[in-house]
Symmetry: C2
């Protein structure tokens, strides 16, 4: 096996998620992941700290992208629409058709494990706090920014649940807008 | 010290929160909490599993009360208003003036400790899931129920932040409605 492995990282992530789906996150070992990917454990550890990292490696990049899009949304856009622009940007980069099966498996692995659920909640809370900060820098008052960011996370989760649904064929951005419409419907007086 | 201690539980909780504020959650011991309350460690362990339990002992009762109020909200009420009825009921029982300083200290202790934050997030996620279930039993569709429950948690957090603010003199129920109004304002087209 050569030192240069085309898309070793992607192959390792794919192998890991397949194994988590087949035999569960807890019982899967790094050795098994590497073997399934046709790579060595050493290669695994060049890309990921541990088997949990496979599931959360994208979180920082996702947050950076969303916060950047919120910051760069047109002036004068309402806070919720600036936050939605961030979610759409995330969709265009992370939630594309080719990633759907991987995202579905990731979600299933997390749903099956309380420790992973806690970590996911912590990541989402950090994302909400980062969106709130970006909204404050756009001039949104303190608590309104926190509320809007939490609502954006709720919209994000709803869009994501629709997106990983087998029956869905819509783009993530469309689902973000559907979820926003649903939000407006449920909050209308 | 007699076996019967008037409001031993309340005194222990108060002593614990005062110590967490003074010297931090991590460094406070159960022995110190018991001593401050003028009680024994044995009495502490009759009321709480450990020093963390002091902070989260009320979560189950809070959830039961909110879910019950959502279930018993008048027929025909919109899901978000049924959820708000749950939050108001919580306010009437848990978020009363006499509890404000304790709630403020509890929040400060949690904010200062990542492990406690994780636990708080897990409790709030469980509360959201329970509210969503209660809304589904009222006939609300699956994902709309999850979205509405997450929004209710965001409203709850905003109301709570206002409520523990030193400058605030409004009742929790008033702040729930203010937060709902703010929600409607930020989501209005």
């Amino acid at each position: 096996m050569g030192r240069w492995e085309p898309d070793a990282r992607g192959r390792l992530a794919q192998a890991a998620l397949a194994l988590y789906a087949e035999r569960g996150f807890e019982t899967t070992t790094v050795a098994e992941i590497a073997e399934r990917a046709g790579l060595t454990e050493r290669t695994f550890f060049r890309h990921f700290t541990d088997k949990r990292e496979v599931l959360f490696a994208g979180a920082d990049a996702l947050q950076t992208l969303i916060v950047g899009a919120v910051a760069n949304a047109p002036d004068g856009l309402a806070p919720i629409d600036a936050a939605a622009a961030g979610l759409e940007a995330a969709g265009a980069h992370f939630f594309v058709d080719a990633q759907r099966e991987m995202s579905r498996r990731r979600q299933a692995a997390i749903a099956a494990n309380p420790e992973l659920q806690e970590r996911e909640l912590t990541k989402l809370a950090a994302l909400s706090a980062a969106i709130a900060d970006a909204l404050r820098r756009r001039g949104c008052p303190d608590l309104a920014a926190a509320l809007t960011a939490d609502i954006a996370i709720a919209v994000f989760k709803t869009a994501f649940e629709h997106w990983i649904d087998e029956a869905n064929h819509d783009d993530f951005a469309v689902l973000v807008h559907d979820s926003l419409d649903e939000l407006k419907a449920v909050t209308a007086a």
